[in-house]
Amino acid sequence: MYKTTNSRVKPTLGLAAAALSVLLLAGCGGAGAAPAAVDLGSGPAVAGTVKKDALKGVNLTFVSYGGLYQDGQTAAAVTPFGKESGARILADGPTEYSKIKAQVESSNVTWDVVDTGSYWAAGQCGTELQPLDYTIIDKSKVPAGLAGKCSVPAMQYANVFVYNKDKYKDAPTSWKDFFDTKKYPGKRAIDGTENIEGGIIEGALLADGVPKDKLYPLDLKRAFKKLDTIKDSLVYWTTGAQAQQMLESKEVDMAVVWSGRAFGAVKNGAPFEPVWNASVVVMDTLTVPKNAKNPKASMALINYYLGKEQQEKLTEETSYSPVNVEAKPKLDAVGKKFLITDPAVASKTMVCNFDWWGKNYTNVAEQWVAWVAK
């Protein structure tokens, strides 16, 4: 910054200069602040713990999708972490990938830990996101195969097929029934956003006769052809709240929705039943953007988040399933019904192939958007 001053600046010119400098400042505010030297203590990391007052004076911004979910994360892990570590925690949201990209591109990263979709995280590892340090994060209690190079799971859920039990006396039991509009007439709601996830594509292929063990690599052409056959009966939800509202108002008779939203609707009295053997398990992930200001502190937060108690509380608050194998959340009957890590549910559901999805996500999402919008 220059230090020249000119006292003879005319007022009007000064005003113009002020307007200009506001514009300039808006583009480069908040840079600087080198990472503080962080001492997280010695010995191997243990999930759910952090060295007392290790992060005094550190600011961390935790970003997630807002609503009940982020409130639960905040209460279960983020706020307690701030209290124990001494870090000052800020919240932001909802997660928008373009904001991560803009921050990384302008080298001014203000988001420290971000909850993202798992496929996106796998695809952006090294470009928008940085590799996680597993000497700081203890992943020994994370379900096998869910922790990646740049991400750990934030919680698990399912894209669950639910139907209105008052409408169909002869209950649907499989993906075939979801695609059978003759036997089961009525509107079906599915996710219409660009953030396509495991669920409806797998369902279309299974309904079309592809055996379960030959699903991947997904035959997109065939899946879209099958989806074309029910396009007139489809409506699309674009937010979780909207999905839940469609169930509660009984606007649709069948739907594929996030298990947490199905739980919310049923809890509020919507007469919907899950079909678990036509449901696909997916997850959200926690990530650290590239060039985050204090990656060690970010990862300390993630390590704390993965603890047994934190995961139990998260599930009790949000109904989403824990990502610590030792977690035993206390739930009521409805909550237990939608707990996808419960053996009664887990024995029926199918876990999506995270590896395939991560590698092909951009391509699938592109084709999906074009199919929906055509």
């Binding site: 000119n6 990209k101 409506v235 674009t238 999402a365 055509k374």
Partner: protein, 313 residues
């Protein structure tokens, strides 16, 4: 802050030299009386100019640049647009929905504005207030209200079913988008129409009648042409605003009936394809300018045919 402030007027910073105090003092003194009068107002528009450049011109230039430079230089983003039928469908749908909004707004607003013109001052004030009330209500609140009213199990369909009709799908499709957009945009049609109509001398219509024209003829051949500028400016206002609508279609429409603003959001935010998002923005701008150019041409032709040299566009 203060250092940045002075930074913007450093001597070699590109500010017009005539505005710089000191160096050009003699020349300025020589022409002082004439120049001061002209320079004052010119300086006053500087903040607005800086704002316009910073907030409109720069982002526009940036998105044009990105459309050919992101992720790498070349025309691949334009090729992407041309190759996919879905892209053309979205652009076409956007233009069509904007056109329908303008037509529906016109059909609703014309009689309304005419009624305002011929009614007394008190009733007219009431009519204006009715039009303006939605103006003062948040767009989000209105859109959510429409969702509740129009959903399949909502009030509108309940009323229709009492009358033995329906249920109709009134949201999550183009119908929903149009209902929402027309309600939001109606004031932009009513107000220009009214301001054009109130300047029409109604005695001309009476004069036509006194010369033997039937009321319908007097209205269509005298009043309608005179109020035409209001129709044109109202329709343009509505059409152009409708092209860029985001919130209303996002809430009342459906991803399967996506308009271009939603599509830009998907490209920029969901797919991180900023170049493609920029292409969509650029093409929307070009399409709009082409349509406006065409309209201006038609207007000039019809005006020349009518022997009127005045110009609205």
């Amino acid at each position: 802050m203060s250092s940045t402030l002075s930074n913007a007027v450093r001597p070699d910073d590109g500010v017009d030299p005539t505005m710089r105090p000191g160096r050009l003092r003699p020349r300025r003194d020589a022409q002082a009386p004439a120049r001061r009068g002209r320079l004052g107002p010119a300086l006053l528009i500087l903040p607005a100019l800086a704002l316009a450049l910073g907030i409109f011109a720069y982002p526009l230039a940036e998105s044009m640049w990105r459309s050919i430079a992101d992720p790498q230089p070349g025309v691949q983003n334009y090729q992407w647009f041309a190759a996919s039928a879905a892209n053309w469908a979205v652009l076409g749908r956007t233009l069509w929905v904007a056109f329908l909004s303008a037509v529906i707004c016109l059909a609703l607003a014309y009689p309304y504005a005419y009624f305002m013109t011929i009614s007394g001052p008190r009733l007219r004030t009431a009519l204006i207030v009715i039009v303006l009330i939605p103006f003062w209500t948040s767009l989000m609140i209105r859109s959510f209200a429409w969702i509740i009213l129009l959903q399949d199990t909502g009030l509108a369909n309940q009323v229709l079913s009492w009358m033995g009709l329906g249920p109709f799908h009134l949201i999550r499709n183009t119908t929903g988008i149009l209902i929402g957009m027309v309600q939001v945009l109606l004031p932009f049609m009513v107000l220009p129409l009214y301001s054009a109509m109130k300047n029409v001398d109604l005695r001309l219509v009476q004069a036509a009648a006194s010369l033997g024209a039937r009321p319908i003829v007097a209205f269509t051949r005298v009043f309608v042409p005179l109020a035409m500028p209001g129709v044109v400016s109202g329709s343009l206002l509505v059409f152009i605003q409708a092209l860029g609508f985001y919130i209303t279609p996002a809430l009342l429409g459906s991803p399967s009936q996506m308009l271009i603003s939603q599509y830009i959001y998907v490209q920029v935010n969901g797919q991180l394809q900023w170049g493609r998002g920029s292409v969509l923005g650029v093409l929307l701008l070009v399409a709009t300018l082409l349509l406006l150019g065409l309209l201006a041409l038609l207007m000039r032709k019809s005006r020349r045919a009518a022997g009127d040299e005045g110009g609205l566009l």
